[in-house]
Symmetry: C2
């Protein structure tokens, strides 16, 4: 593959202007409402999106610098590989969030569950179509940390 | 945001060399096994990944050209906005697949559920941590198509 150049299709409006305002921790709830504002040129791509309850939002960690292949998350005392974490310091700084769609007004999607900083560039939106049954999920080191301590500070979104 | 340049962290080995080999349709199962081969320089980022049962794989539709903001999927007779579909013809040609992790051997992850072409470039891998309960999901036009006809040809992955 040649290097691939991405561009923003819109921006997130969220209540968070600084990373330390975003709820973290194993029990963190991401219930904050926000707005996904899509650039007018892409608005036709939203046709029929309002029939879906949940969306995947792909976005850019635009205020993160560089990456670490191995690092210790705030919630743990042990290091883990970046692809086993949600760290913002990734080789390709793409974030992924599942949001609940509350409503659409033209080029704006009102959503619940934002964990992005205000002004975050959006790369793509996709419909959320199916879930892995909870009974089939294994969550590796995160589950171990949960078992060890309940009050840790670890992003689980 | 300045335009963002992405690079491949690895490649997918899959049984599919052509798009028409990939199972599609509302009842399509993606049970094929494949391999995610991560470039050696990124292998340390896989540390501890084998504790997770499921992974998100972000990848590039590297054999798609251009995009359509509105188009009619193979399964339907009505057009929909690109952000309400899984079309490969997107403003940023990023694909997203949930796979089951079967095992790791060094820089190779054996997985089930590939729906990518052989040789597809990988951008990122993230742990799958939680699901939206099925009872809360609404699936818009896809649910309507399912209700109208059971034998349609529509990607649901």
């Amino acid at each position: 593959m040649q290097n691939l150049t991405m561009r923003s299709i819109g921006f997130v409006h969220s209540p968070f202007s600084q990373a330390d305002q975003i709820p973290r921790g194993l029990d963190a709830k991401h219930d904050e409402e926000g707005m996904l504002e899509i650039l007018p040129e892409f608005e036709p791509g939203l046709e029929d999106i309002d029939g879906f309850s949940h969306l995947y939002v792909l976005w850019v960690f635009d205020r993160s610098q560089g990456y670490d292949l191995v690092s210790t998350p705030p919630c743990d005392t042990r290091p883990h590989g970046v692809f086993a974490t949600r760290s913002p310091h990734r080789p390709n700084p793409i974030g992924l969030t599942v949001v609940r769609l509350l409503g659409r007004e033209g080029n704006r999607l009102r959503v619940r569950g934002v964990d992005m900083l205000d002004g975050t560039p959006i790369l793509d939106i996709k419909p959320y179509l199916s879930s892995v049954p909870e009974a089939e999920l294994k969550r590796g080191w995160q589950a171990e940390v949960e078992a060890r301590r309940k009050d840790s500070n670890c992003a689980t979104s």
